[in-house]
Amino acid sequence: MSEPKVGVITFPGSLDDADARRAVVAMGGDAVALWHAEHDLAGVDAVILPGGFSYGDYLRCGAIAARAPIMDEVRAFAERGGPVLGICNGFQILCEAELLPGALIRSASLRFVCEDIWLRVETSQTCLTRGLTPGETIEIPVKHGEGQWVATPGQLERVEGDGLVVFRYSAPDGQLSDATNPNGATNHIAGVRNPAGNVVGLMPHPEHAVDPDVGPTGGQPLFASLFEAALAGASA
């Protein structure tokens, strides 16, 4: 199997861009650094919008980055069915760019929280979860102060009705409760997808969950899925 080329966009204020590139390499991929101000995806097979505080979270989280030059290319790539993953601030950017439904607001605790949590996989119909089974749980860190996913009643109905929820915050056994919801997200939603399943955003950090020496490993199967999707798209 050849190595998938996975691009990681650096916006001003991106913080986990190098971490995402390192995770791609650790999982056997080829990481490509992409720059926000350019109109060029360098022919990558998948794109990651990493965590951080792009543009200092000024205006709203992700609002300015969603209008960066490279986002025209990301939009076109997504329309062609290319796999796009938004992590934390990247998820916020994808929502601001209206590539994903909903919005992320201040966490219910009004505090930044960094801890390892559990996610329940809700669907395997995405570029990030095609190798996983719905109902399965994975351990992975969150770290954010504005991660409460919310949506309008109409959006929420569509998201739930069309199976667009990808992950929910849960206990290790998959049970849902407020105690295991780190930010008060509506319906415990941690990540969503577009209808085609090639664009996925989530608040937790899979790139910080591939190296057993520094944390949990729940991100490994997610990267494996992303690579499969990237190679499938590349050969198509």
Partner: protein, 732 residues
């Protein structure tokens, strides 16, 4: 001609003013006076501490860069260097906790960048008044939010620190912050590594200069906080972590591209400090054009531009041939650049505005030739008090243990550190819940181990001994992970040095640091002195905070704090004496901080540290935990809570039970060892001359100390985990 009284308003003494007149051969004008007042402030000039700091040991085989640069650096092998430094931002934090703490983080990070190193970790030693007071809770919450608000937004993990509590910190909270950076040893930026040329430019890049933080070093940092200190709020700087992140990336790219002849951060004393220190270091002067400085408000006065402490600015020395490349790189990162000066031969700073010379002074006179005082000192009358070990105790020992675990100094700090990004950069092997935090050198198996420790209560009773304990505990916290302690940085927190009693505490503390650093072979690579932590007649306890750095050759061999399995042998290393003076038990259970602190035999400490390092490598300790605050019972409880396994031990002793359990005798650790390794472990301990007492075994759900304590570990954990949230009034 200036008003004679102006210099006093700016914090200069009459004799210092005379000295300026002598240096210049004339009266200084308003701008010049402002420059001298900030550069000769206690904060910038170290005028009260310098002669004493010179007595500290600063050399050792691992030291690459000692005191005098922006930060110290040690060699960790294979051409890798670790840069580290600690500073305080206490007075700004007392007035505006969020911004005070946030800009403290920003400042120390720029010190690390100035050395050409990437910032890789932050640690925050904090001291507050009791959390029973609403204002102290407000300060704690604000400081923690500020540290997180800044640190989380610049992509540098916060991996450790500590929090202590004492009444004197109600009016004077101490906010120290340490930053660690990684670089290649041969790429460090130091005065020796780069050669500036006459005609090279001084380029200011980063944020614009505004009216925030005017005279921060002289108004805030070099005077005591009195009633109405809130009026000093304009002297507190405002941070913008987004700009800092851009500054980190741009600066490291400039260095990597070989585009610089010098680099300095702008911190205390702003442009004045950066210009004069950069020029003095180059052995040159500079022609400065203040009109070139990008301003937030066009009508700023010259003295304001010269002393503003606006954050997120750096000053680079750039050869004219490299200017375009520097400008292009900064533009890529969205940062503005301004050529504000040109280096000239001679040593004079000539500063112009609107074409007129507004200041003309020797650079060295600002940067290097500040006043130096040998201030009078006098030992204060020692407080009468009984030795708490002699006080009979008839309370229940398990209640005492519960009280200690709920004491905020000992209780879990999870409420604090879960608000910090501890994982960004992907190299955090062990974080704030470890005795020593461990950060991986990228691409290697090496772990850099860091701990910060201060012992204010011991310092209150005996400043020399308190300082020695701080070094010893920091070294022990590094060594229990299996790492060899290498070197220290420090932040010396004291009251008003103009009072002989405070100066005596300072000099005693320096003597203690010297003795301990020599005995443990951990030289001082730099640090910071924070004086004037007092208001009215209440000064803080003399508190040198130590930032200790160590090296673990293979982080996979790190020894954890908690009991990892049932069926292990539990040992106490070291000896226990009747030493409750200044202990946590004396404070929170007896309510009396009297007597003398535990004795410290540095040879025994050294032997323990050598043994811990050897044992980790040779016999595989299953766990090791410093036996410190709260004594043996607390150390056992913490190891059980952390590992999730109980224990059953008996403590052979002639001491009264409460003394045996809660004495804070130095040079001790609680370790667990697999049965198969016991013989080798005991033999190795004997060969190092370290007493090892087998207390019992790990296992089961209960924490059992024969005849004293029999509790569920779960209950201990609950007390320990929920104490701080409860004090802060949160549902638990």
């Amino acid at each position: 001609m200036t008003d004679q009284r102006l210099h006093r308003q700016l914090g200069l003494k009459d004799d210092e003013y005379e000295r300026i007149v002598e240096t210049l051969g004339r009266e200084p004008n308003r701008a010049e006076l402002a420059m001298y007042s900030v550069m000769w402030s206690e904060h910038c000039s170290y005028k009260s501490s310098k002669i004493h700091l010179k007595t500290l040991p600063t050399e050792g085989p691992a030291v690459l860069v000692g005191p005098g640069q922006d930060a110290g650096a040690v060699d960790v092998g294979d051409g890798d260097a670790v840069v580290f430094k600690m500073e305080s931002h206490s007075h700004p934090s007392a007035i505006e906790p969020y911004q005070g703490a946030a800009t403290g983080v920003g400042g120390i990070v720029r010190d690390i960048i100035s050395m050409g190193a990437r910032p890789v970790a932050l640690l925050d030693p904090l001291m507050f008044g009791p959390l029973t007071e609403p204002r102290n809770r407000w300060l704690l919450e604000g400081v923690v939010a500020g540290i997180g608000g800044y640190g989380n937004c610049i992509g540098v993990p916060t991996i450790g620190g500590e929090i202590r509590f004492a009444e004197a910190h109600s009016t004077n909270p101490c906010v120290n912050v340490m930053c660690v950076g990684f670089a290649k040893a041969d790429e460090l930026v130091t005065a020796q590594s780069l050669t500036p040329h006459v005609g090279s430019y001084m380029v200011l890049y980063g944020a614009a200069t505004g009216r925030d933080g005017i005279g921060g070093v002289s108004v805030l940092a070099s005077a005591t906080l009195e009633e109405g200190a809130e009026a000093s709020r304009p002297s507190v700087q405002i941070g913008d972590p987004f700009a800092e992140k851009l500054l980190i990336e741009a600066s490291l790219a400039l260095i990597e591209g070989g585009l610089l002849e010098g680099l300095q951060d702008l911190g205390g004393a702003g442009i004045t400090c950066a210009l004069s220190e950069s020029a003095a270091r180059a052995g040159m002067g500079a022609e400065v054009d203040l009109d070139a400085v990008p301003l937030r408000e066009a009508d700023m006065e010259s003295f304001e531009i010269l002393t503003s402490e606006s954050q997120e600015r750096m000053l680079a020395i750039v050869h004219p041939s490299k200017l375009e490349a520097v400008q292009a790189l900064c533009r890529r990162w969205g940062l503005q650049t301004a050529v504000i000066a040109t280096l000239v031969a001679g040593g004079t700073l000539t500063i112009r505005r609107h074409g007129d010379v507004i200041a003309q002074v020797p650079a060295r006179s600002l940067a290097d030739d500040g006043p130096e005082y040998d201030r009078p000192r006098e030992a204060p009358a020692t407080a009468e008090g009984t030795d708490p070990a002699l006080t009979p105790f008839d309370g229940a020992l398990d209640d005492a243990l519960r009280t200690l675990l709920a004491s905020p100094a000992i209780a879990s700090k999870r409420w604090v550190w879960r608000q910090y990004d501890r994982v960004v950069q992907g190299n955090t092997i062990a974080g704030p819940d470890s005795d020593g935090a461990v950060i991986r050198v990228p691409g290697t198996l090496k772990g850099v181990v860091v701990s910060t420790d201060g012992k204010g209560r011991y310092g209150h009773l005996d400043p020399r001994l308190g300082a020695m304990h701080a070094v010893a505990e920091a070294a022990r916290n590094v060594a229990v992970t299996g790492a060899r302690p290498l070197a220290i940085t420090n932040c010396l927190n004291f009251g008003n040095p103009e009072r002989p009693a405070v100066m005596w505490q300072f000099v005693e503390s320096i003597a203690g640091l010297r003795a301990a650093c020599e005995a443990l072979e951990t030289p001082v690579t730099g640090g910071n002195v924070s004086f004037y932590n007092e208001s009215g007649d209440s000064a803080i306890d003399p508190t040198p905070v130590i930032g200790m750095l160590g090296l673990l050759p293979d982080y996979r061999l790190r020894v954890p704090l908690g009991f990892p399995r049932p069926g292990l042998a539990v040992y106490l290393l070291g000896e226990t004496f009747a030493e409750l003076g200044g202990s946590e038990f004396a404070d929170v259970v007896l309510g009396e901080v009297t007597g003398i602190p535990p004795a410290l035999d540095l040879a025994k400490e050294r032997a323990l540290i050598d043994f811990l390092v050897a044992a980790a490598a040779e016999v595989r300790l299953s766990s090791a935990h410093d036996c410190g605050d709260g004594g043996l019972a607390v150390a056992l409880a913490e190891a059980a809570i952390a590992g999730g396994h109980g224990f059953a031990v008996s403590v052979p002793t002639d001491l009264p039970p409460h003394v045996a359990l809660f004495s804070e005798s130095a040079s001790r650790a609680v370790v667990s060892v697999a049965p198969v390794d016991e013989d080798a472990f005991e033999a190795l301990a004997a060969s190092h001359g370290v007493p090892a007492t087998r207390l019992g075994e790990t296992g089961g759900p209960r924490a059992v100390i024969e005849g004293a304590v029999d509790m569920l570990v779960e209950e201990l954990a609950d007390v320990w985990e929920t104490a701080i949230p409860r004090l802060l009034g949160e549902a638990v």
